[in-house]
C-alpha cells in the first residue's frame, strides 16, 4: 500500500469533514439547513463513539443519550455556573463522560448477553431523574440556560468574524462542531487501527482464544466504553452550547435510539458510516418539510387537527421503515453496500453481525466452540491490515 493511499484510507474521511467544516456552515444561509448541519455534526459525534462501542466491542447501548445529557449539564455547570472558558468546560464535560463510561463498563462486562441494554436504560432513567429533580443545579424539568463562553483564543464561536464577514451562533458553532468531529474521527480511526481495535476484532472472532493469546479483553472493552462515553458527553456539551438551553426532555430513549439508527443506517464499522447516517437521519425531517405540499396525506405545518399525518410523525415512520428495510437488506448499513466482501476485518465484522450461528444457547451465553467460518479466519487476517 503506497503512502498516499494509506493516508487517504486513514485520514481521508476526517480531512473531508474538516474541509466541510470550513466550507459548509459559513456558506449555508437557510436556518433550516444550518440546523441540519448542526444535528448531523452532533449526531455523527455520538455515532462515532457508538461505532467503537458497538462495532468493535460489540456492546449495545440504548442509553447513549444519558452520556450526552451528562455532557450537556456538565458543560452548564462548568461553563455557566463556574464560568470556565471553552477549553475547560468542553474538556471537563468530555472527561465526566469518560469517567462514567469507565464505571459502567466493568458492570456491563461482568455478564454476557443483553445486559448492557438494560444497564444503559437504567443510566438514562437515572439521568432524567437527576436532571428533573436536582433543581438547584439543573433547573429541573424547566431546564436551564446554557450560555457559556464560546471564545477560543481569538475566535468567538458565538459570532465568528472572518474576512470581514460576521457569522451567527448557528454558523459559528457549526464550524466548531464539524472541526471537533474531524478530530474525533482521527482519534477513533487510530483506536480502531491500533492495538485496541485489533484486539477487539480478535475478540469478536473468538473471545476465549483472544484471551488466551494474551489480549486483555476486559481492558480493551473498557477503553471502548470510555471512548464512547467521552465522545457522547463532548457532543452533549457542544449541543448545549449551540442550543443555548438544556432540558431533560432533550435526552430520552428516543434520542438514544436515533443515534443507533444513524450508526446502523450509515454503516457499522466504517469511518464514513456514522457521518452518512447522521446526515440521512437529520435531513429527513427537513426534506419532508420541503416535499410535504405535494404529498396529500401530510398535514401542512400550519394546520391544526386531523389534517393528515404531521411531518414529525411521518419522519418517525420513515425512520422505522428505514430501520426495518436497511437492517434486513443491508445489515451493516448503507456505507457497506458497495464495499467488497473480502475486506478482511471489515468482512469479519459484517458476518459477525449478520448471523450468530446455531451454537448459542437461549439464555444468551454463547457456546465455547467457534460457530462461524469468519471466526476462524479473523485472527489471522487482522494483523495484515494494521498500519504502522
Amino acid at each position: 500500500m503506497t503512502t498516499l493511499s494509506r493516508i487517504v484510507r486513514c485520514y481521508g474521511a476526517p480531512i473531508v469533514v474538516a474541509i466541510l467544516a470550513l466550507a459548509l456552515p459559513l456558506n449555508v444561509a437557510s436556518p433550516a439547513w444550518q440546523s441540519v448541519l448542526i444535528f448531523t455534526g452532533i449526531g455523527a459525534l455520538v455515532a462515532v463513539g457508538l461505532n467503537v462501542l458497538t462495532g468493535y466491542a460489540g456492546q449495545i447501548s440504548l442509553g447513549q443519550a444519558a452520556f450526552v445529557g451528562l455532557g450537556a449539564y456538565g458543560a452548564v455547570v462548568l461553563g455557566v455556573r463556574s464560568g470556565l472558558p471553552l477549553p475547560l468546560w468542553l474538556l471537563g464535560a468530555t472527561v465526566t463522560g469518560g469517567l462514567l463510561g469507565a464505571v459502567v463498563g466493568p458492570l456491563a462486562l461482568r455478564l454476557r448477553g443483553p445486559y448492557l441494554i438494560f444497564v444503559s436504560l437504567a443510566l438514562l432513567s437515572l439521568l432524567n431523574y437527576v436532571a428533573s429533580s436536582w433543581t438547584s443545579v439543573t433547573g429541573g424539568t424547566a431546564g436551564t440556560p446554557a450560555t457559556m463562553s464560546l471564545r477560543l483564543g481569538g475566535l468567538d464561536f458565538g459570532a465568528l468574524s472572518l474576512g470581514g464577514m460576521r457569522y451567527d451562533l448557528a454558523q459559528s458553532m457549526g464550524v466548531l462542531i464539524w472541526l471537533v468531529l474531524a478530530v474525533v474521527m482521527v482519534v477513533a480511526g487510530h483506536l480502531a487501527r491500533g492495538r485496541v481495535g485489533r484486539g477487539l476484532r480478535a475478540v469478536r472472532g473468538n473471545e476465549a482464544i483472544a484471551g488466551s493469546l494474551g489480549i486483555p479483553v476486559a481492558r480493551y472493552k473498557i477503553v471502548a466504553f470510555v471512548f464512547a462515553g467521552a465522545v457522547a458527553a463532548l457532543a452533549g456539551a457542544l449541543y448545549a452550547a449551540q442550543a443555548g438551553y438544556v432540558t431533560p426532555e432533550n435526552f430520552s430513549m428516543d434520542t438514544s435510539i436515533e443515534y443507533l439508527i444513524m450508526l446502523v443506517v450509515g454503516g457499522i464499522g466504517t469511518q464514513v458510516g456514522p457521518v452518512l447516517g447522521a446526515f440521512v437521519i437529520s435531513a429527513i425531517p427537513e426534506i419532508l418539510l420541503l416535499v410535504s405540499p405535494s404529498l396529500p396525506f401530510v398535514a401542512s405545518p400550519n394546520s391544526i387537527g386531523g389534517g393528515g399525518i404531521s411531518v414529525d410523525e411521518l419522519s418517525t415512520v420513515i425512520y422505522g421503515v428505514l430501520l426495518v428495510v436497511v437492517l434486513l437488506v443491508a445489515p451493516n448499513g448503507l456505507a457497506t453496500l458497495w464495499r467488497s466482501r473480502g475486506n478482511g476485518a471489515a468482512a469479519a465484522l459484517r458476518s459477525r453481525h449478520r448471523s450468530r450461528g446455531p451454537g448459542r444457547r437461549g439464555d444468551g451465553t454463547p457456546s465455547t466452540t467457534p460457530t462461524h467460518p469468519a471466526s476462524r479466519t479473523t485472527i489471522s487476517t487482522t494483523p495484515q491490515r494494521s498500519t504502522k
Binding site: L111, P114, L121, A122, L314, T316, R354, R361, D363, G364
Partner: protein, 297 residues
C-alpha cells in the same frame, strides 16, 4: 395501618400490568432470542383496538377485549411469519432495532387513525369506582386486573408446562439445536411466541387504557418499557421470572411513590425499578429465580 395494604394492592395491580408485558418480552426473547421492542407497540394497539371495538363499534366490553387480543395476536403472528425467522437468526442489535422500527411505524399510524389527544375514554365498566374490602378502598379495576392477570398468567404457565406447544417452546429456548433435532418446527415456535406475547401485550394495553390506568393515550407505550427492569429482577433465563419481576416492579413503584420523602422528587418512583435493576445486576445477576449467569472473562 391500612396504607401499606392499599399501596400493596395498587402495586399488585400495576405489577399485574407489568407482569403481562414482561412475560410478552420474555416469551419472545427466550424462544427466539429477539428482544422485541414492538411489544410496546402492541400494548398501544391493543388499547386503541379495544377502544375502537367498544366505543366506536359498540361491542360489549368483554367482547371488545377479546377482539383486541385476537387481532393483536394475529398481528403478532403476521410479523412473525414475515420477519420472525430472519430476526431470530440476526444479531441482537438488529432484532432490537428492527422491532423498534416496527414500533416507530405503528405509533404515528395509531395517532393518525385515532388522533393524538389524551382525552379518549375507554368507557370501561369499572371507571373510577372503588370497592370497600375490609376497611380498604380499592379501585374496582385493580381487583379485576389482579384477577385477570393471575388467571391469564396461570394459563400461560399451563401452556408452557403442560402442553406440547409450550414444552416445545421451552425446549427451543433452552437448546435450539437439540430442539430442532427433535423435529420441533421452528416456524410454529416463532409464530406462537409472537402471537402469545401480542395477546398478553394487548390485554395489558386494555387494562392500562382504563380510566384508572390513565385512559386511551399515545403514552401507552411507556407501560411496556417500564416493565423491562422486571425481566432482569425476575431473571432473564426464566419466563416465570419475568412475571415475578413485573409484580416486584409494580410493588416497588407503589411503595416508593407512597413513602418516598418529597425531597426526592416525583420521578423517584419511575427510577426506582431501574435502581433495583442495577442492584440486582451487582448483587445477584441471575435475578430472583433465574439460572446462574455465566461470567465473562
Amino acid at each position: 395501618m391500612t396504607e401499606p395494604l392499599q399501596l400493596g394492592i395498587a402495586g399488585l395491580g400495576l405489577g399485574g400490568l407489568y407482569a403481562l408485558t414482561a412475560m410478552g418480552f420474555a416469551i419472545v426473547l427466550r424462544a427466539t432470542r429477539v428482544l422485541n421492542m414492538f411489544q410496546a407497540g402492541v400494548v398501544l394497539i391493543g388499547g386503541y383496538l379495544c377502544y375502537a371495538a367498544h366505543v366506536q363499534w359498540h361491542l360489549p366490553f368483554p367482547v371488545a377485549v377479546v377482539v383486541a387480543m385476537a387481532i393483536c395476536a394475529a398481528l403478532g403472528a403476521l410479523v412473525a411469519v414475515l420477519i420472525g425467522a430472519r430476526l431470530a437468526r440476526a444479531s441482537l442489535l438488529t432484532s432490537v432495532l428492527v422491532t423498534v422500527g416496527l414500533l416507530y411505524v405503528a405509533q404515528p399510524v395509531v395517532q393518525a387513525i385515532w388522533g393524538d389527544n389524551n382525552l379518549l375514554s375507554l368507557d370501561d365498566p369499572w371507571g373510577l369506582r372503588q370497592v370497600r374490602l375490609g376497611g380498604l378502598q380499592i379501585a374496582a379495576r385493580d381487583l379485576w386486573l389482579i384477577g385477570t392477570a393471575a388467571v391469564v398468567l396461570a394459563g400461560v404457565w399451563y401452556l408452557l408446562n403442560r402442553t406440547t406447544l409450550g414444552i416445545a417452546m421451552r425446549a427451543a429456548a433452552s437448546d435450539r439445536e437439540a430442539a430442532l433435532a427433535q423435529g420441533i418446527n421452528p416456524r410454529m415456535i416463532i409464530g406462537a411466541s409472537w402471537a402469545i406475547a401480542a395477546a398478553l401485550g394487548a390485554l395489558a394495553g386494555v387494562m392500562s387504557a382504563t380510566a384508572v390506568g390513565g385512559g386511551v393515550r399515545p403514552s401507552l407505550v411507556g407501560v411496556a418499557f417500564a416493565s423491562l427492569p422486571g425481566m432482569i429482577v425476575g431473571g432473564l433465563s426464566s419466563t416465570g421470572g419475568a412475571a415475578i419481576g413485573g409484580v416486584a416492579i409494580g410493588l416497588i413503584q407503589a411503595f416508593v411513590a407512597g413513602y418516598a420523602p418529597s425531597v426526592l422528587g416525583a420521578g423517584i418512583s419511575d427510577t426506582a425499578p431501574y435502581l433495583l435493576l442495577l442492584v440486582v445486576l451487582l448483587v445477584r445477576p441471575r435475578g430472583l429465580i433465574g439460572d446462574p449467569v455465566v461470567r465473562s472473562s
